[in-house]
């Protein structure tokens, strides 16, 4: 037996032991602190309030009302006639009725300004899977994708971990409200070249996470021109497209393509999901919409690794094809998110904190740089620790989003009740008062 102990233990792969999953970063460390001491209005009023999770809980009642009134969505009808087909259905094309419903929903969100063909929709178990899948298809190991900063921390894992693809950041700063510029894109491209990396695409999030703002039409056009010029792909993650505060300010890349007559569109791919707009991250529903036939075919086959439960497809197909429900939901959800946003912005303003002017998303991009000891990442993390441990709010530091300017934080406001948000704002007020008194 002693001899066996000396033998090397059976090894794991590089992927398995890699740290690229990123779960040791502050973004996730804050969640651990929350898990250990979660706020509860009655049982734990001094616990940590979770403001680092971009979840939409403001419109659950609308979903519940629909399901209450339409039991056929969750039970395949009396005697379950549709069940047999549904339970056996594992076709990677996905339920046609569901794809049709998703296409319609995406059109409604864009106010009918773009059309979507259900046969170009590929279903995946969440947008996380969609982004990874596209990366597998568009790039080889060792290649690079350009991503504007600040970006969603999960991209470091989703785009890089198993794919072996690298991210080269396109640096944006507050001088122009963190918008992407042609110069910044060029600089990133040259940076990739100097590292001998082949750039295969540019990935944007529109509306942006963590900025909480939509990308302007002129910028979208510049990005598309850049991609065309370098002959690379453009992935537009539009997961927050239904969470804009007004219906007209969001412009999808699909609309830009439409006005250009779909010229050169085979390089464009849109990622969408119901996790944010419909508040259903637990359902695991994501889509890839591609204007490239080969990408659609390959993505479909690759989606075998990440199919959506046919039961869930059936339920959502019923719900989303109900025009009355979907129109009302989009409108009401928008109003409620706007209300929350106004509430938090005003609350922060009275505390003396400025935020980036936002118009979408489940969060705001808060500027705490005046509070930093020094304009450094270390100072930002020190402040973040204070906010987590003393103020007991879990918010996301800009450095975990690769923001090049220290002092910015993402604060989520839709994953809690209004009362909890009030409590959070009170705590922030207190912090600011303490700081003022100290000075």
């Amino acid at each position: 037996m002693a001899i066996e102990i000396e033998k090397p233990s059976v090894g794991l792969s590089k992927v398995a032991v890699s740290e690229t999953h990123g779960e040791d970063s502050p973004y996730f460390a804050g969640w651990k602190a929350y898990d250990e001491n979660p706020y509860n209005e009655s049982s734990n009023p001094s616990g940590v309030i979770q403001m680092g999770l971009a979840e939409n809980q403001v419109s659950f009642d609308l979903l519940e009302k629909y399901l209450e009134e339409h039991s056929e969505a969750s039970s395949w009808g009396k005697g379950a006639p549709g069940f047999r087909e549904n339970a056996l259905f594992q076709d990677y094309h996905g339920l046609k009725s569901f794809r049709q419903a998703m296409a319609n929903f995406m059109e409604q969100i864009r106010g009918g300004r773009a059309r979507f063909d259900p046969d170009r929709i590929v279903l995946t178990a969440g947008a996380t899977a969609a982004n990874e899948l596209l990366t597998f298809i568009l790039a080889d190991p060792g290649d690079a994708l350009l991503v504007p900063t600040p970006y969603y921390p999960g991209f470091d894992r989703d785009l890089r971990w198993r794919t072996g693809v690298k991210i080269v950041p396109i640096h944006c700063d507050s001088s122009n409200n963190f918008q992407v510029t042609p110069e910044a894109m060029e600089a990133a491209y040259r940076c990739a070249e100097s590292m001998n990396l082949k750039v295969r695409g540019i990935l944007i999030t529109n509306p942006s996470n963590p900025l909480g703002a939509t990308i302007q039409r002129t910028v979208l056009e510049q990005i598309l021109d850049f991609a065309t010029n370098k002959n690379i792909h453009l992935v537009s993650d539009e997961i927050y497209s239904g969470s804009t505060f007004s219906s007209s300010e969001f412009i999808s890349i699909a609309e830009v393509l439409e006005t250009r007559g779909y010229k050169d569109s085979e390089r464009v791919h849109i990622v969408y999901s119901l996790s944010k707009d419909l508040g259903l991250p637990g359902f695991r529903v994501g889509t890839i919409y591609s204007y490239n036939d080969k990408v659609v075919t390959t993505a479909r086959r690759m989606s075998s690794f990440t199919l959506i439960s046919s039961q869930t497809q059936h339920l959502l197909a019923c719900m989303l094809s109900n025009k009355e429900f979907s129109e009302n939901y989009i409108k009401t959800n928008r109003e409620r998110l706007t209300r929350r946003y106004d509430m938090i912005i005003n609350g922060l303003k009275t505390a003396g904190i400025e935020c980036l002017k936002g118009n979408a998303g489940l969060f705001c991009w808060m500027n705490l740089s005046p509070l930093l000891e020094e304009p450094t990442r270390e100072s930002e993390l020190a402040l973040w620790k204070v906010i987590l441990n003393e103020v007991r709010l879990n918010i996301s530091p800009g450095s975990s989003c690769h923001c090049s300017e220290p002092g910015w934080f993402r604060v989520c406001f839709a994953n809690m009740s209004e009362q909890t948000l009030e409590v959070a704002l009170k705590r922030i007020h207190k912090l600011m008062e303490q700081r003022r008194r100290r000075n």
Binding site: W76, G282, F305
Partner: protein, 542 residues
Amino acid sequence: MTQALYSRTRSPETEKEKGGGGAAMRVIVPLQGVVQGRGGLVLGSVIPCALFYVLQFYLKRHRKDTDEQNNSDSSSQNPTPRSSSYGNLSELPGLTRNWSRGLSSPRNLRGPVSVSGRVSGIVKGADSPYYVGLRRAKEDPYDELSNPNGIIQLGLAENKLSLDLVEHWLADNAEQAILRNGKELSISRIATYQPFDGLMEFKVAVAGFMSQVMEKAVSFNPSQVVLTAGATPAIEILSFCLADAGNAFLVPTPYYPGYDRDIKWRTGVEIIHVPCRSADNFNLSITALDRAFDQAKKRGLKVRGIMLSNPSNPVGNLISRETLYILLDFAREKNIHIVSNELLAGSTHGNEEFVSMAELLDPDDFDRKRVHIVYGLSKDLSIPGFRVGVIYSHNEEVLAAAKKLARFSSVSAPTQCLLTSMLTDAKFVQTLITINRERLQSMYAQFVAGLKKLGIKCIKSSGGFYCWADMSGLIRSYSEKGELELWDKLLNIAKVNVTPGSACHCIEPGWFRFCFTTLTEKDIPIVMDRIQRVSETCKLNR
């Protein structure tokens, strides 16, 4: 639109290739002039330079070729090369291997935007008879009344025999289970972010079900369960965790055609075939395993593990307890992993005892860390559409990595709630398992008897939804080509879709997998009749 673009840009590519060869000729001939002293200085410097550039060009292309091969599909790594009959199958307008690389050079800026090497791999794989047959049967499905001349599907390992039981349970319990759970209708429970590797209550229910299915011989610890959207990602995730790109797994043949995709496609891991033979009843021989391991070593491939299927697909036999012990010894000796795909553990129908690899592992056994079980609800519960797969392991590092990777393939929350309810109904589960086994036994016996009457023998097997039949007596030439000709006749004349052994990499031609669980008893005579159409003519032609 995209097709036209591809063909336009393919020609500059082939011209480049021709250029390479032509240049060589144009160098050799003037060399004679150099030797005879004419234009010596100029040619003496130009020719070596030209040779140098041609050599560089050639080396670059060759390196790209090997890069592509690492990412491409099975046929390039298959030790038993594909026969020419492959060309007879419908060919998708394929990509030439290197065009994507060539196009990314600055000269081809106006060409279409390139995609990764992984794209060409799957394009070719999709034309195997396994997939072609499935597609054809889908397009022209048999129906007793509306399409009596349609194709009868015997190529899909789906079990419809006990679906009625599941259906009844759901009709009575579904809505309650998903939304209410005995209380007010609430969606927040299933709507919000859940642990990516599954809800603990569902893990408990699944662990309990696995134990019941394996007749309580093992108890499974729910905290060692990672749930995935089907067994397909479970296998891929394990491949990612246990091997690096370029490493290999030993896999006994014939095997489930999907392994070529699940184990190899995105991971870059290779499969080394371990052939099983009819003389051994297609049971795994350790000699063959040893030989395959040594062959891998000679090829410079590092073997990281063995992928077993027990009950096996497509043959349907069970691995004996003795063989399982021998396999553990082998894995220990070579210090490699064992993945035991026990997806069909609940679908055994003979008198033979099913033994899970998990049974053999002692709590103090160091070797527990090298064994990983794959399971799922697609087969035993007949719900492939709901996408529930399981990775079960005693290795904390593997579990930690798999839990994180499960985020790309999570089980939908409402489905988890529904099935938790179903699986914790112990009485229902027991009834289902028992009745399912009885029906499987009955259908198997009838189907095999039917084939026997036609002079077609099957391997005696105890598991799965299919029988493994020897039709070598009916093929004209004892080769893959002959086998595929018979497959074609069965598909187009007899109008039954069956899986030919070559799609499963069987080393002996003439074997076919017939799935019988999508049939009812009265379909059997019709199927036998259809097969007879072909078997009679084949006998006459020999």
